[in-house]
């Protein structure tokens, strides 16, 4: 396959990297010990916070970290899917996430307007009227926003990446950065430079239960439940549908898949659709949680989610989900221990450590085994 040479230059295949690791004792030790060290460090951080600030604070931070991680996880899945199938780090993905929050805002406003003129009741206000109203909105708003964002993802692939599929790897990487700037610029122009409300104020509020002094809000349950649901659905889709099988085939060997009758263009487009739609779920969850979006939101979120994908093993969907949750916890606990100043630094130091000692990530790269 053309382009394979360049890929090897950047990221050697799993087998060769393993043999490289076997060569160096220290590196191999680091690689083996990495998951233990990581989990151990995280547990130590949690114990430290619990000892210094109390168990209920540590418990609340656990909730904060997991909910933050759920959003990272949903974005990370998009990075990992695209990497798994065309070996491209889609740097525009973070901005697709931001764009989805903007779509969610506009679609919500449109629905409110239609709702208001049809039934005299705004859909937005329905959401505040208990679980039934909320369910109605979720069944309309989520699919519409996810579809709109998915289509945008497909268009980006069609315009910016498809023609460069067989070009040297640097070319689509640069267009990805370009697409990122275009998306950020257009949001800057249309939404302005300040934070914008997403009109999801008070959608899911209230405390579900209190355990050991830790308040768990309905929104927390919603976020984590939604993220897990999406990821399990995706996993099932890839395992058991025809299109999922085509994705796996394309990821393993694009030429062979083409020879066996897989429509490569359609399969790759589907990958972008699903990855972007999941980012949209993340964007909507973010809007419901924080009720605010700003044009460059996706830059920081994107890079952290990318780190989550690398931590889990780039190309590995389960790994991306796991990485997202872990990074969320590391961010929150590391942030508290270092007074916030080092939250980002800790996450990116993590990226360097992973790439140095365990480039395959926690669960192993699934390239080219599985999408």
């Amino acid at each position: 396959m053309e382009g394979q040479g360049e890929v090897r230059a950047v990221l050697p295949p799993l087998a060769r990297r393993r043999s490289l690791l076997r060569g160096g004792g220290l590196a191999e030790l680091g690689s083996r010990a990495f998951p233990t060290v990581l989990i151990g460090a995280l547990v130590l951080m949690i114990i430290d916070v619990a000892a210094r600030s109390g168990v209920s604070v540590a418990g609340s931070q656990l909730v904060n970290g997991i909910t933050k991680g759920a959003i990272f996880a949903l974005i990370a899945v998009g990075y990992t899917m695209v990497y798994g199938i065309i070996e491209l780090i889609n740097f525009a993905h973070g901005d697709v996430f931001t764009l989805s929050a903007v779509y969610g805002k506009e679609i919500g406003r449109g629905l409110s307007w239609i709702g208001m003129s049809l039934w005299g009741v705004s859909l937005g206000s329905l959401a505040t009227r208990g679980p039934l109203g909320l369910a109605a909105v979720l069944l309309v708003l989520f699919p519409l926003t996810m579809a709109a964002t998915g289509i945008t993802g497909v268009l980006i692939e069609r315009v910016a990446y498809r023609r460069l599929r067989d070009a040297p790897r640097l070319a689509p990487l640069i267009t990805a950065v370009g697409v990122s700037f275009i998306l950020e610029g257009s949001m800057l122009v249309t939404q302005g430079s300040s934070n914008v409300r997403t009109d999801k104020e008070g959608w899911i509020r209230g405390t579900a239960f209190t355990a050991g002094g830790v308040d768990v809000h309905w929104a927390d349950i919603f976020v984590v439940g939604m993220a897990l649901l999406m990821m399990f659905a995706l996993q099932a889709f890839i395992r058991s549908t025809r299109l999922g099988k085509a994705m796996r085939a394309t990821a393993q060997d694009r030429d062979a898949a083409l020879l066996s009758g897989v429509n490569i263009n359609r399969t790759i487009a589907a990958t972008f659709f699903i990855g972007s739609a999941l980012a949209a779920a993340g964007g909507l969850i973010y809007s419901i949680f924080f009720d605010s979006v700003v044009w460059n939101l996706g830059f920081g979120f994107g890079i952290i989610a990318f780190t989550a994908a690398v931590l889990g093993g780039i190309g590995n969907i389960v790994g991306a989900g796991l990485g997202g949750f872990l990074i969320g916890l590391i961010y929150v606990f590391g942030g508290q221990i270092t007074s916030g100043q080092w939250s980002n630094s800790i996450v990116f130091a993590m990226l360097i450590v992973v790439l140095t000692f365990r480039p395959v990530g926690l669960l192993g790269m699934r390239v080219p085994d599985r999408a």
Binding site: Q61, F290, V294, L297
Partner: protein, 429 residues
């Protein structure tokens, strides 16, 4: 238009001189100086003053409105014959550049270089922005020309060691104070807020968050110091990047620490409204405190109805001061517009400069000092020693050039608006 003034004014002065000679009376303008019949009636010639403010681009409305205040002071001084037989020439410079579309330190440096090279110029009002001041001060200090700023609040401009980004000594190469400002700095602001928090609002345990920018970090540092000095406890100080959107970990921590207040050292665009909203969402009832960077409509865009109750310090709302009412009316009459936040400050700056020139001329027997360097030096000494009662209250300067008028207002978020609650000066501590 505004640059034509310099050529038109002497002519205006002559006309009004003639008018004065004819009727022998004069009205005292906002300058509050002597009439033409005073000790300077025998003065012959003209004196040149200047301003350097951002009057185009993004700062046009605030900088332009400040310049209008400055210009009104000059016009009133000429009309009222503040300098007797001598007239005041005025040069207006704009430190916005096309390249930046707003205030530009490089443009400012270029402006003051040309102003100090003009030996007729005895003093400059400006600059507006602290970053421009950093570029300009060494130039005017070396040349020995006085600069009076209406709006610079960075403490590092005058007090060494208060802003790690500014080498205060390098702004004063001659070691002499030539730069003055009529507005208090952030050290005083934090002092006021700490006092209000501790004594008036009865808050004892603060959780302090800054936005990692120079302004925010410094403000938080000063607040922490003052709050602790009064007897309060700073339970924790955290520093978050400006793009932070999720403050829940910090809110959880503040709750765990039992903080009764949260101070945000930073600007509204770095999330003060988001923080306030998330505090309400999380059920944290601690009082939200902040500085002038938060007194901004953006705060309510982010916080919505949950912004209410927040309190923050900012420069005094001069439109409410009795001493400013006459000027506010005159300004409206002259320009058909309302004053902007710093119009009164600009007006007082120019009046202080003109008063200092007046005093030099009186000392010199109603004659312009022959040597421009001597003239400039004498004006600096008079500004240093001034005691001026103007629109913003009484202005006197300490040896660093900072005003001794330490008033700040406390604003409270009420119904989606910042409402001035009270004006306070810090008590000595």
């Amino acid at each position: 238009m505004e640059r034509i003034k310099a050529r038109v004014l002497p002519a205006l002065g002559i006309v009004s001189l003639a008018a004065l000679a004819a009727c022998g009376t004069s009205t005292t303008g906002g300058g509050g100086g002597n009439g033409g019949s005073g000790p300077l009636s025998s003065c012959i010639g003209s004196v040149t003053v200047a301003s350097d403010l951002p009057t185009s681009g993004g700062d046009a409305s605030i900088g332009g409105g400040t310049e209008k205040g400055v210009k009104l002071a000059v016009d009133q001084a000429n009309a009222a014959k503040l300098l007797g037989g001598c007239t005041v020439n005025y040069i207006a410079k704009d430190d916005s550049s096309v390249a930046k579309g707003k205030h530009d330190p490089q443009q400012g440096a270029q402006n003051v270089t040309s102003l100090v090279a003009n030996l007729a110029v005895v003093g400059i009002v400006g600059p507006f922005n602290s970053s421009v001041a950093v570029a300009e001060l060494p130039i005017t200090n070396k040349a020995g020309v006085v600069q009076i700023s209406p709006s610079n609040t960075d403490p590092g401009l005058t007090i060494p060691g208060t802003d790690p980004d500014i080498d205060t000594a390098s702004l004063k190469p001659t070691g002499k104070t030539t730069y003055f400002r009529v507005i208090s700095n952030d050290v005083v602001q934090a002092q006021v807020m700490a006092q209000v928090a501790y004594k008036e609002l009865n808050l004892k345990k603060v959780y302090d968050i800054d936005d990692q920018e120079t302004y925010g970090k410094d403000l938080s540092n000063y607040f922490d110091q003052d709050f602790a000095k009064l007897g309060g406890t700073v339970t924790k100080r955290v520093s978050l990047p400006g793009d932070t959107k999720d403050f829940r970990p910090q809110i959880t921590e503040a709750q765990g620490l039992g903080a009764d207040s949260v101070f945000f050292g930073g600007v509204a665009s770095n999330g003060s409204g988001i923080l306030k909203k998330q505090m309400s969402d999380a059920g944290l009832t601690a009082q939200f405190l902040s500085g002038d960077g938060t007194v901004d409509p953006q705060f309510f865009v982010d916080s919505g109805a949950q912004g209410d109750g927040a309190q923050a310090s900012s420069a005094p709302d001069t439109t409410k001061l009795a001493s400013a009412q006459q000027f506010i009316q005159q300004y409206k009459q002259r320009y058909g517009q309302d004053v902007v936040a710093y119009s009164t400050y600009g007006y007082d700056c120019m009046n202080i400069l003109l008063q200092a020139i007046h005093d030099v001329l009186v000392d010199n027997g109603a004659k312009l000092p022959a040597d421009p360097v001597t003239f400039r030096t004498k004006v600096i000494a008079k500004v240093q020693g001034i005691d001026y009662k103007g629109t913003i209250g009484e202005t006197k300067f300490d040896s660093n050039g900072d005003t001794l008028n330490h008033q700040f207002s406390v604003y409270k978020a009420t119904g989606g608006k910042w409402v001035g609650r009270e004006t306070v000066s810090p008590s000595a501590s």
